[in-house]
Symmetry: C2
Subunit: 371 residues, 2 copies
């Protein structure tokens, strides 16, 4: 058989839209020897994770756990379980992940209605209200933190009006959870999913998901089986619930890592963590301004975790990302979709939200763009 040498990768500073780097403690925990997925020791680990994850998601929801897959899997779990064929679903599209919501919802048989905003803007409650009335949707999908645009969607009023219409709301917090407030219960989010590899700084492969009691009730009253075995909450929920019934083999070491990532959040404290993300983001934004550069998103709705930086006139964006990676081992990302060629995407998330990373990136950008 063909063999290859031992793994050997250059040490990257990951300042793109994710994955982010993780604390060495997380890597150490991840390499703890395995135990079985029904071992009482592992069940305790699952309990610990659930308690800490509820705190991070600011929820008391029983059904709160980490999906055995990357963020897209928790996203699909949300839609797969909440949709029955023929349901009217309203998706608010202001970036790449809104489009993905549409694709997923359609695969589960929904009749999808959409409202759109240019990438980098957010929706007003009135827009959602009107669309909800016109569509008669029973379910609304919206993105709290659009990884493709860097915009933060205010949710308080929207969640309220969705509930007034007796509909349910699914919120994407992939790029916000752990980096800025995600108050699931206070806002009244029915289903909230996230990724581990962004502001929680866990390697990708374990992804937060929570369902409110009202959402669980909807799932329990389904007329059809969830059209996805791996992500069927009526089965997964029994493994993460008190029954601990075997469903699929849990990714043991990913859960070790995720538990350690949650411990780091607990030690830092949520308020302190949010403040750190905000402070380092502002340091970056001010530094960009000093370099004569600007951000794509209005400051009032700008994510601290993910900044879209406007590519200056006459600069080749891919030349810059290429040189950052090849000369300085720094990863940032190019724009996607409507913002392709127009912005760079810079993540300052979790372990990576550090003043030294901000200074380094600004210095490297200055060197490359201004020589």
């Amino acid at each position: 058989m063909t063999d290859f040498p031992e793994i050997d990768v250059a040490p990257r500073v990951l300042l793109g839209p994710g994955p982010s780097l993780v604390d060495p403690r997380v890597l150490k925990a991840m390499s703890t020897p395995l135990v079985g997925h029904l071992d009482p020791q592992f069940l305790t680990i699952m309990n610990n994770m659930q308690i800490m994850l509820r705190q991070v998601m600011q929820t008391e929801n029983d059904l709160t756990f980490a999906v055995a897959g990357t963020g897209s899997a928790s996203m699909e779990a949300a839609f797969a379980n909440m949709i029955e064929p023929g349901d009217d679903v309203l998706v608010c599209i202001n970036g790449y992940f809104g489009h993905r919501m549409v694709d997923m919802a359609e695969r589960y048989g929904a009749t999808v209605h959409t409202i759109n905003r240019p990438w980098g803007e957010v929706f007003t409650p009135d827009e959602v209200k009107t669309a909800l009335e016109q569509s008669g949707a029973v379910l609304v999908g919206i993105v709290h933190a659009e990884t493709s645009t860097g915009a933060m969607q205010p949710l308080d009023e929207i969640t309220k009006l969705v509930h007034d219409a007796e509909a349910y709301i699914i919120v994407d917090t992939v790029t916000s959870l752990g980096g800025l407030p995600v108050r699931v219960d206070e806002i009244g989010i029915d289903v909230c999913y996230s990724g581990g590899q962004k502001a929680l700084s866990c390697p990708p492969g374990a992804s937060p998901l929570t369902f409110s009691p009202r959402a669980v009730e909807r799932i329990q009253n389904r007329k059809t089986k969830v059209a996805n075995w791996y992500l069927d909450m009526s089965l997964v929920g029994k493994y993460w619930g008190s029954e601990r019934t075997y469903h699929h083999t849990a990714p043991i070491n990913m859960n070790y890592a995720f538990r350690e990532a949650l411990r780091l959040v607990a030690e830092e404290g949520l308020e302190a963590r949010w403040a750190r993300h905000q402070a380092n983001a502002e340091l970056f934004w001010d530094g960009l301004e000093a370099l004569g550069m600007s951000c794509h998103v209005d400051r009032a709705i700008r994510l601290p975790s993910l900044t879209t930086v406007v590519v200056p006139d006459g600069v080749d964006p891919k030349m810059v990302t290429g040189r950052l990676l090849n000369e300085y081992n720094i990863e940032i990302a190019n724009g996607l979709g409507q913002l392709g060629g127009k912005v760079w995407r810079v993540g300052l998330m979790g372990f990576n939200s550090r003043p030294e990373n901000v200074l380094l990136l600004l210095a490297a950008l200055k060197e490359i763009i201004h020589g």
Copy 2:
């Protein structure tokens, strides 16, 4: 926030149906710092993995890769992509995983036909042929190595007769790949899936999957979208193919681990690895006999990777598994379904297929059962 102490688990000897323990080199590789999922360095790692995985699966199939989930996810990927609503599917049930195939196939809209054998037996080619003719199935699901029974299904003739009927065959090799021959191309398997956490000795979370060119063609000619976004091969295949188009964020460290697990297989060599599994299994079977115990499955079709041991009369099976775990840190599993209370399931897989583990387990069983 509630905090918990650093992770601290007793060192288990995992001799159940999986996960198995992994070589320390795999844990070390897994804790390599992250790079981005589109980083050229990571794309090279993906290429390495695909080349080695093709060798382990004995196939030249282009579409050969590791699903970002545990074995059940690669299983679901196989069915989700090959089934269109209304397709007639034949499932051969002789254990737990046959039942799971039925459940999954139904969720994707198949009309499912089944043939059954008592748990621990296997199907003859004639049985499959007759059922195929009667059902008019376009797709057959069968388990090569039934983790719930320890039986090994011969496949050469069955695959041939499925092809003669212009149907496709999906084969579950979760508990065989890496421990006994799985010759995908030679046998002519259309879709073959496995798990990383059994005889390949990788932590759960990356799961082998391969599609023959004929299966890929079927997928390309689908009339409907695959009813599963995360596992849609038309999207996943572009990330693992030459386009390297972003689909979902790959589980970076799981892939590091899986690459190292494959390197260990390559170093040992497939033939040597199969011989090791067989030799240690026989050592175990002979030792059981010397203790006056027996195996549930006929020796001719008995898996070397997973043995179902008959619980002797008058012995409480759960007392034994409990004492093995609590007194000796050894994990074996109780029987499932038809074999609940009747057998124990003992895995000697990958890193764990070692004479010292056989001696230890036999000694502990002797101590507990015979005092």
